[in-house]
């Protein structure tokens, strides 16, 4: 299998593997993909992924029964087999549907292994539907901070919102699930397509890595439109999503993919950039690339990753061009090169009150005696 792209798709758990498989279907053979699961039957039924059955001696291929500790241990059991899949990989997109044991337990562990290999990671975490049982929703809530800890960027997608975006709520269940996976597939393959199937404008790989490496959470927004005013309609639809999604913190960086057919006009592209750019905050960084796909003739689809905590310093100052002679994405920002945690705007002594006359507690360059909500700019 070719590794020249340096990109790897990893599905973790039953749901994660299904969504990853759908993404691979969307983008075909050019996507190198691995599925990790503890359930032999489930992993066997997923097409298009190279399946790794986790923790077989421990779980006998029967799954974790919803226990994330078992999922974590199973991933640890097969860490070596997974690591063998990582040769030549520079960026990994991990997809996991949270709420179960394998996704919640194995995904943070898999991300940790990727991190050890200095691979830049983007994790798509799908949350359970609101009507699912409380135990699944709580399990998902417990797993999210661990993903935050291990991944460079986490994109959290409530499944309810995904189905709504896909217009799938009123469809029969099987068709709705297919449609939701199709929409998700577009989001998931955004990076591949921006880099490998560029239209008018190709996205700079180094910029992409720099943005992903900034660490934090991102949101995924999608908008489609047809007709004579399709560019403006799609842009306004996207802005509505960026502005209304929860939490509604102002975006700090947006990676925008314009997915269209061969009939996309330069004037339309200008329209999109003007409409989106004018409505984003002034300090928000906007990076755009186009994706040409004849399936989209007559239609414009805008896909955006919206970062709320991104900063130029944390992203490595904008990222240098990849060294000549190296494969695509080899310019990925390595952990050691990244900027440290953003320092508080307050100097030492300011805001410390009770601790003003005592030696400061410093961690990663931050004065922990200053209230956390001040340093993290959390609005009360």
């Amino acid at each position: 299998m070719s590794t020249e792209t340096g990109l790897l798709l990893v599905g973790v758990g039953g749901g994660g593997c299904q969504f990853a498989a759908a993404a691979r279907q969307t983008f075909g053979e050019r996507l190198r993909a691995v599925g990790l699961d503890t359930d032999r039957q489930a992993i066997g039924g997923v097409e298009g992924l190279r399946g790794l059955l986790l923790g077989e001696p421990r779980l006998d291929g029967m799954g974790t029964g919803g226990d994330p500790v078992k999922g974590r241990l199973a991933m640890q059991d097969d860490a070596e087999a997974f690591t063998r899949e990582l040769d030549g990989v520079h960026v990994a997109v991990v997809v996991v549907a949270l709420g179960g044991g394998t996704g919640g337990g194995a995904a943070p562990e898999a991300l940790r292994l990727l991190r050890q290999k200095e691979i830049t990671t983007l994790c798509f975490a799908l949350l359970p539907f609101p009507f699912e049982d409380a135990a699944r929703r709580q399990a998902a809530e417990r797993a999210l901070p661990q993903l935050d800890e291990s991944a460079d960027t986490v994109v959290v997608i409530p499944q309810g919102g995904l189905w709504e975006s896909a217009g799938a709520n009123d469809l029969p269940f099987a068709a709705a699930a297919r449609e939701a996976r199709r929409v998700f597939g577009h989001a998931l393959t955004l990076l591949w397509r921006l880099l490998l199937a560029p239209g008018f404008i190709r996205f700079d790989p180094a910029r992409l890595c720099a943005v992903l490496a900034s660490r934090g959470r991102a949101r995924f927004c999608l908008s489609e439109a047809v007709g004579p005013a399709r560019a403006r309609d799609a842009a306004e639809g996207l802005l509505a999503q960026i502005g209304t999604a929860e939490p509604a913190a102002p975006p700090r960086a947006v990676v925008l993919g314009v997915l269209a057919g061969d009939d996309l006009r330069l004037a339309e592209l200008g329209d999109i950039m003007r409409t989106v750019g004018e409505n984003l905050p002034k300090d928000c960084r906007l990076d755009m690339g186009t994706i040409a796909d004849s399936l989209y003739d007559g239609c414009i689809c805008l896909i955006a990753l919206v970062f709320e905590t991104w900063s130029e310093a944390a992203a490595g100052g904008g990222g240098a061009a990849p060294p000549a002679g190296r494969p695509p994405l080899s310019g990925a920002v390595r952990r050691g090169q990244r900027g440290g945690a953003a320092k508080s705007k307050l100097g030492y002594g300011a805001g410390r009150r009770r601790f003003r006359d005592i030696e400061a507690t410093i961690f990663n360059g931050e004065d922990l005696d200053i209230p956390t909500y001040v340093r993290k700019h959390i609005a009360l």
């Binding site: 797993a143 006359d357 922990l368 956390t372």
Partner: protein, 403 residues
């Protein structure tokens, strides 16, 4: 000869605890406790000797009254962000007949691993033997009789700032008590609340104190990592006071009444009114804002612990979950937040390794002093065993962590 009553002291940031343990029928019972709010201590360190002494004297008197014991000698728990750890490697060639490891080899490598030259400003608190390595085989707990050419031992060394320890000693001297031994607080607490099964399976003990958050990881019956972060419940109180511009006393009261480590679903619609006080007008604010302040602080503190454990590579060892002690266990939803942060089950550290008199609630707040009593009791009444820890090399804590 019967062992005299034992006395343990924890000079904490928010309160001073004095515990008395009495021995009888081959077991130790926690028979009396004296507590008093502490002033003059910040982040586990003495900042005003006289104020700290006043709190200590009051707690000592209360303990004496409750136990009918005159307190002269005590064991002391120490903590503070200045406490650091390092792993020191001792390595010797095995030169005996047939290259068999002997007890002498073990003693020699133990001595070597425990001997390190720290700056004069630092004082070694504990030297804790971890695992031996014979040639390339690690994880050996008793290498005597094994064959090889090299014997190595990892020694976890816990050390702190000499001046900070001296300040605590000064407070105790002025209160006319003699310190027999000093123990890192969270290590002491582990003796009282952790079971041998937990220590074997891998457990993280977090002591959520007023001035510091201390942690210790046990795995395979040995202490794998330990440390102290100079952030505690006092920081939450300070954050609240600054966020809402209210006095610390009111902030502390709010923390106890409405505080939560997670933002509760019903917090959004609720509002609190604080009446006017001297120099402060009345204030109204939302419970959600209050809980946001607390959540941000607790979440960050636990992530710092997690990050340190990640750096030391011990996170994968935690098979038996997380155990909490200290006053921070009273914060609502703290267990859920710990579970979220570590992805592991979390429980309160209940004093399970010694008996408590019926009048004493075996709460996680008393884990440190209870552990101190056990520490002394486990080592018998032999005064030789309670010399200052730094002076003894031979596996002082081996028995402590392999019970």
């Amino acid at each position: 000869m019967a062992m005299p009553p034992l006395v343990a002291i924890e000079l904490g940031t928010t309160r001073t605890v004095v515990a008395v343990g009495e021995c009888g029928d081959d077991r130790l019972t926690l028979t009396a406790v004296g507590t008093y709010p502490t002033t003059g201590v910040r982040k586990g360190q003495i900042v005003a000797v006289e104020q700290a002494e006043a709190g200590l004297v009051a707690a000592l008197r209360q303990a004496e009254q409750n136990s009918n014991v005159t307190i002269g000698q005590v064991l002391l728990a120490v903590t503070g962000g200045h406490i650091q750890t390092m792993v020191n490697l001792g390595n010797i060639p095995i030169q005996g007949r047939d290259h068999l490891v002997t007890q002498d080899d073990v003693n020699e490598v133990t001595e070597l691993a425990a001997s390190l030259n720290l700056d004069d400003s630092r004082r070694i608190l504990h030297t804790l033997a971890q695992a031996f390595t014979v040639d390339d085989m690690g994880g050996v707990f008793n290498p005597v009789g094994m064959t090889g050419s090299q014997l190595a031992l990892n020694m976890l060394v816990i050390h702190g700032a000499r001046a900070r320890f001296e300040n605590v000693m000064t407070v105790l001297r002025q209160a006319s008590v003699d310190v027999q031994d000093t123990v890192f607080g969270v290590c002491a607490a582990s003796l009282a609340v952790l079971t041998p099964e937990q220590k074997r399976a891998g457990v993280l003990l977090i002591d959520l104190g007023g001035g510091t958050t201390d942690y210790a990881v046990f795995a395979n019956d040995v202490i794998a990592a330990a440390g102290s972060i100079g952030v505690g419940g006092d920081h939450i109180t300070n954050d609240i006071a600054l966020a809402f511009n209210i006095p610390s006393v009111q902030a502390e009261d709010l923390k106890r009444r409405e505080g939560s480590a997670l933002i509760e679903p019903d917090a959004s619609g609720r509002r609190l009114t604080l009446p006017q006080g001297p120099g402060f007008p009345d204030r109204t604010f939302g419970v959600r804002a209050l809980q946001t302040v607390i959540h941000a602080r607790m979440d960050e503190t636990l992530r710092v612990v997690r990050s340190r454990l990640d750096e030391e590579g011990v996170l994968p060892l935690l098979g038996a979950g997380v155990v909490l002690t200290g006053g921070g266990t009273r914060l609502r939803n703290i267990h859920a937040l710990v579970q979220q942060t570590f992805g592991l089950p979390c429980m309160d550290g209940v004093i399970c390794n010694l008996a408590c008199a019926s009048s004493i609630e075996p709460s996680p707040d008393l884990a440190t002093v209870a552990g101190l009593l056990l520490y002394r009791y486990e080592h018998g009444g032999d005064d030789m065993l309670i010399r200052p820890v730094g002076k003894r090399i031979k596996r002082l804590f081996e028995g402590m962590f392999k019970r």
